[in-house]
């Protein structure tokens, strides 16, 4: 038992020894219960206890409490000690109260009274004891009781320095509890001027207080900026002997320096006073310079204190984000730390660089350290350092290095710590989406994520890849092919089955031409996973199967067999049972037209912030990781360093790319839909913010997709959905337009008008039936349009749909899918006759039209094939010696003539170019067909 100092309590020491000697937890509890009983009886006993004994027992209770046991008595005795005239008793009383705060209002009143007495004491030690107690409890009652006295104590001329220090921090504590206790007016300036106090301890404590006050009312406390800069300037230029005891291991006043640097981060760089700004920059430069000086001591305390100031200075430099020179210097300094042998420094340097990466001045400078950071991610022994490296890679990622960083993160993910996998998956998914220029890359990355870390791929991630594939035509064929291949792995993650099921259900047809992925093969492959999956995934697969029935009528019986199985039709899971029986009935009863409508390809998803980003933000509430280079806040012009312009340039292109992150390919930005996936996700997204309803809005829609497509949703926003079904025979066409009111009120003055001049109508005559002028809430009406192709024409008619919603006129102009190619009749022919005609038509120059153009979408053979078929001509396989080329033939029917048409499309993958040649007996037809088709690639 060590010696006890002061007027040590021997009884307490003996008790502590007893507890320590207990061999078991039970023995300890027994000893404690014995002691509690003893103390209880002493407190209840008739014999009045003297102060010393009370103190001793209260102290024992405190000890028992700190061991983790509950204490439900003794509070009164502790409060009694507060009014003892012996300091040691009073002190123990205060300690007990501070540790075991009890909101018992009776007691609080007594406590407050005792504190009041001590606060008024002439002995500063008593005053401080009272102040410490207020600060330790810091309750609202305390704020109410002492809100008046403490500010006075703080600024009064005859308060001693030690008391001022405590008063400042005590006030800060109460201010945090109730913000209204700080008086304004003249007090503001008096509090600010504490920054000029002679006593370093007072300044240090006051700076904490001012920092909090500034956060609430920056304008009122603005005066503190110049005072803080002056004070800081005096410290950083001081030699370490100047500040005597406030120098810590040869570093002058590190605590005060850090606090001042922190205080200044509440403001933008002092712009109105160039003198202050200049002085501040000098300070920051001095701090950066000192970092390069040899250390004055080998002790870690020296380097910690020095670097603490340095890191805080760098934080301020990043916060100000206005001095390119300082930012780059900061970055270089941190770069040095990346290979320091102190783990702590490497950790902090990585963390700090994350912030530098978001400044346009230093973004490029940070990127220079990419290799070291990648090494840190792989090699650091400590997971928290590796985590920082991952964060930094995420922050420094931009268009130029995205592929490399994403690849490195994917590589690391295979061995990454479980604790950081989920977050890494989110980050990789976000980066891949954000910087994808080629969406096949994006699809590859996400499928790799599922393969490598399937368990950590949250729903948002796989929802997102589906949204993107649905919204981007050009990637659909590739996605189908890739998921098909991925599913062939003997063991694949359930998330892969989900993505694969969804994508094949939508786009399996794009790869069905290949025997290796024929409809039956796709179906068998998916179904081989079925039994290993959870009910949720099974339900999704059942939907895929019914979609297959629509896409591939030839496997209908096989699919129906699956629906009929007892494990589905009589599944214990109500959802599966319902889906199986409903889908089965649907497949039996519905005609292929109905099936085609019900099981139509999903419409595009509305554009919005990536849902994954929202998840990442939620995961890290304290620190939203950033991957956006901020615009600089500097009022001064950028100094001419050549990398700055470069960044500006890449910024704008980056913004463009972002704009494209999920473009609905055929629909305007404000379209939305009610697809299944959206319903699932409904609550995650904020409502699309759309100005429909606020002002008269008019939109022009040209769904190019419908050149190769006859049915689908032409347009959709949150008010209305316009769908189309069309059929063509010879030179006649019939369109059904379906207008669905999505709102809960009726749409008034509902009038679709045709825009098609008489001159044009002489070539394509269009008749539109009229519709009722009111479209009731939730209702759908149909409008029939008949068209006849009389002569060759260009373009296609528009309709203007106008209506009034909430007293606001809405106008939507939509191009009808009535292009010339709709009147094609596909024509089979063999190679011999094709080449004969081709040659024949080629003789007259005016009969052919040729276009050479750059691919606007990734070149995907399967997707192209699908489009060619949808275009209406007969796709002739095996005629062109190059299997990648497409050769087609068709006849356009007009009222009194038929125009034969031949076509050849030659993709050049290396050059990312196409050559399209159309030959027909009529030159304008060749030109128009060429125009129409070229826009599809």
């Amino acid at each position: 038992m060590p010696a006890v100092r002061g007027d040590g309590m021997r009884g307490l020491a003996v008790f502590i020894s007893d507890i320590r000697n207990c061999k078991s937890k039970e023995a300890e509890i027994k000893r404690i219960n014995k002691e509690l009983a003893n103390i209880r009886s002493k407190f209840k006993g008739d014999k009045t206890l003297d102060g010393y004994q009370k103190k001793k027992y209260v102290c024992k209770l405190l000890f028992i409490f700190l061991l983790g046991h509950d204490i439900d008595f003794g509070h009164m005795e502790a409060v009694n000690l507060l009014s003892s005239n012996k300091y040691s008793e009073k002190q123990i009383g205060y300690l007990f109260i501070s540790v075991l705060v009890n909101t018992n209002s009776e007691l609080i009143k007594l406590i407050i009274q005792s504190i009041k007495n001590d606060l008024a004491s002439r002995n500063p030690i008593h005053v401080n004891l009272a102040l410490q107690c207020i600060a330790n409890i810091g309750s609202r009652e305390m704020a109410e009781a002492f809100g008046n006295d403490i500010p006075k104590l703080l600024v009064s001329g005859d308060t001693m320095d030690v008391v001022k220090q405590s008063a400042a921090l005590c006030l800060l504590r109460l201010f945090r509890t109730s913000q209204d206790i700080i008086p304004g007016g003249e007090w503001t300036s008096r509090i600010i001027h504490l920054l000029n106090d002679q006593h370093m301890g007072v300044v240090t404590a006051a700076t904490s207080l001012i920092d909090a006050l500034v956060k609430k009312n920056p304008e009122e406390y603005k005066g503190c900026v110049s005072l803080a800069v002056s004070r800081l300037s005096r410290i950083v230029t001081a030699s370490y002997t100047d500040l005597q005891d406030y120098t810590y291991y040869f570093v002058p006043a590190p605590w005060l320096s850090v606090k001042l640097l922190r205080l200044l981060q509440n403001y933008t760089p002092p712009a109105e006073d160039p003198g202050v700004r200049g002085r501040l920059n000098e300070c920051l430069e001095t701090i950066l310079n000192k970092a390069q000086e040899p250390p004055k001591s080998k002790k870690v305390q020296h380097s910690n204190a020095k670097n603490a100031v340095l890191f805080e200075a760098i934080s301020l430099i990043i916060h100000n984000d206005s001095e390119a020179n300082l930012l780059v210097r900061a970055c270089n300094q941190l770069g040095q730390f990346l290979s320091n042998r102190e783990t702590n420094l490497r950790y902090l340097a990585l963390e700090s660089m994350c912030h530098l990466a978001t400044s346009e001045f230093s973004h490029e400078a940070v990127k220079k350290h990419q290799e070291v950071v990648i090494l840190s991610m792989k090699m650091e022994k400590d997971v928290s350092v590796r985590q920082q490296a991952v964060d930094l890679l995420y922050a420094m990622c931009d268009k130029s290095n995205a592929e490399e960083i994403v690849q490195e993160m994917l590589n690391y993910l295979e061995t990454a710590d479980y604790s950081i996998r989920e977050e890494m998956v989110l980050k990789v998914a976000i980066l891949a989406e954000k910087y994808a220029t080629d969406y096949t890359w994006y699809v590859d990355v996400i499928l790799n994520l599922i393969r490598i870390a399937g368990d950590y791929v949250s729903e948002e991630v796989w929802y997102r890849v589906i949204q993107i594939v649905i919204n981007r035509d050009e990637v659909q064929g590739y996605a189908a092919k890739t998921v098909f291949e991925a599913l062939q792995a003997p063991a694949c993650h359930e998330n892969m089955v989900k993505v694969g099921g969804y994508i094949l259900g939508e786009f399996g047809n794009l790869i069905a031409g290949d025997q290796r992925s024929s409809p039956a093969v796709q179906f068998q492959l998916l179904h081989s996973k079925y039994h290993l999956c959870s009910p949720m995934t099974r339900a999704l697969l059942l939907s895929t199967y019914i979609k297959f029935i629509n896409l591939f009528p030839e496997i209908r019986t096989q699919v129906q067999e699956v629906f009929k199985q007892d494990s589905n039709l009589r599944s214990a899971d109500a959802e599966l049972q319902q889906r199986a029986s409903e889908y089965l009935q649907l497949s039996i009863i519905a005609s292929s037209d109905v099936l085609a409508t019900v099981l139509e390809e999903m419409p595009a998803f509305p554009e919005r912030e990536s849902s994954i980003l929202a998840v990442l933000k939620k995961k890290k509430p304290g620190r939203v990781p950033e991957n956006d280079v901020k615009e600089n806040k500097s009022p001064t012009p950028i100094t001419a360093s050549n990398h700055t312009n470069e960044i500006n340039a890449s910024n704008t292109s980056q913004a463009d790319l972002l704009g494209l992150s999920t473009p609905p390919t055929s629909q305007p930005n404000n379209s939305s839909n009610t697809g299944v996936l959206l319903d699932v996700l409904g609550d995650i997204y904020s409502k699309p913010n759309n100005n429909v309803g606020n002002q008269n809005s008019s939109l022009v829609v040209d769904p190019k997709k419908f050149v190769c497509k006859n049915n689908g949703v032409l347009f959709e926003n949150e008010l209305i959905q316009i769908g189309v079904k069309s059929e063509f025979r010879q030179n006649l066409g019939r369109l059904g337009l379906f207008y669905g009111n999505k709102t809960t009120t009726s749409l008034q003055n509902f009038v679709p008008t045709l825009l098609w001049s008489e001159e044009q109508a002489a070539k394509l005559s269009v008749q539109m039936k009229s519709v009722e002028p009111t479209l009731e809430a939730g209702a759908q009406i149909q409008q029939m349009i008949n068209a006849e192709c009389i002569d060759d024409y260009t373009d296609a008619p528009n309709i203007v749909v106008s209506f009034v919603y909430n007293a606001v006129l809405q106008k939507i102009t939509i191009k009808l899918p009535l292009t010339l190619n709709k009147f094609f009749e596909p024509t089979e022919m063999n190679g011999e006759s094709f080449f004969a005609r081709w040659k024949n038509l080629g003789n007259a120059n005016q009969q052919r039209s040729q276009k050479i153009f750059k691919a606007s979408q990734p070149m995907d053979l399967q997707a192209s094939r699908q489009k060619m078929i949808g275009f209406g001509m007969q796709l002739l396989d095996g005629i062109d010696p190059n299997p990648d080329n497409f050769v087609c033939a068709g006849i356009i029917h007009m009222r009194s003539q038929q125009v034969g048409c031949l076509l050849r499309l030659e993709p050049n993958k290396n050059a990312q170019m196409y050559r399209l040649t159309v030959r027909s007996s009529k030159e304008p037809v060749s030109v128009e067909i060429c125009e129409l088709l070229a826009e599809q690639f």
Binding site: V162, L169, R176
Partner: protein, 157 residues
């Protein structure tokens, strides 16, 4: 602002706890357990900082004792390490080569010293001399008072 400071032994026994924000006892125990387990599981050469919930944890081991502080996002990690070091220096100076036992048997003193160094979660006095002066002044007050119960107490109390 510092939210709390914990001192615990290598065996995971809590020796001192100081909370600068009010939490229910149950939550305090939960936090303490969680952090002690986390930190004891870390290897010696590892970084002294870790992210924990929305706070930053700064810890350092001195002999058999771990000192662990939770600070907010704005706070400076390196300087928090030095707050710990300054506290250790003060304890060392006061007890003369402090050891874990000193803190067990004189926990109230450890609290008093900490209250002079930190108040309301912020550093109050960074000068070692000034803190020791304040503690000495307290001890002096005690010594002036005749320890009344001294003769009654025979260690059986």
């Amino acid at each position: 602002m510092m939210q709390f400071m914990l001192l615990f032994s290598r065996q995971g026994k809590l020796r001192l706890q100081k909370w600068y924000v009010a939490h229910p006892d149950k939550l305090k125990k939960k936090i303490t357990r969680e952090l002690i387990t986390t930190i004891l599981a870390r290897k010696p050469k590892m970084c002294s900082f870790l992210e924990w919930r929305d706070l930053k944890i700064v810890y350092k081991r001195y002999a058999s004792l771990y000192f662990c502080c939770a600070i907010e996002q704005d706070d400076n990690e390196l300087l928090t390490l030095e707050v710990i070091h300054r506290y250790v220096e003060l304890l060392d100076k006061y007890f003369g080569s402090v050891c874990e036992l000193d803190i067990i048997f004189n926990f109230e003193k450890a609290y008093f010293i900490l209250d002079e160094l930190m108040l309301g979660g912020e550093i109050q006095e960074t000068s070692k001399k000034n803190v020791l002066k304040a503690i000495a002044a307290q001890d002096l007050l005690q010594e002036e008072e005749t320890p009344q119960g001294f003769f009654d107490d025979h260690g059986l109390g």
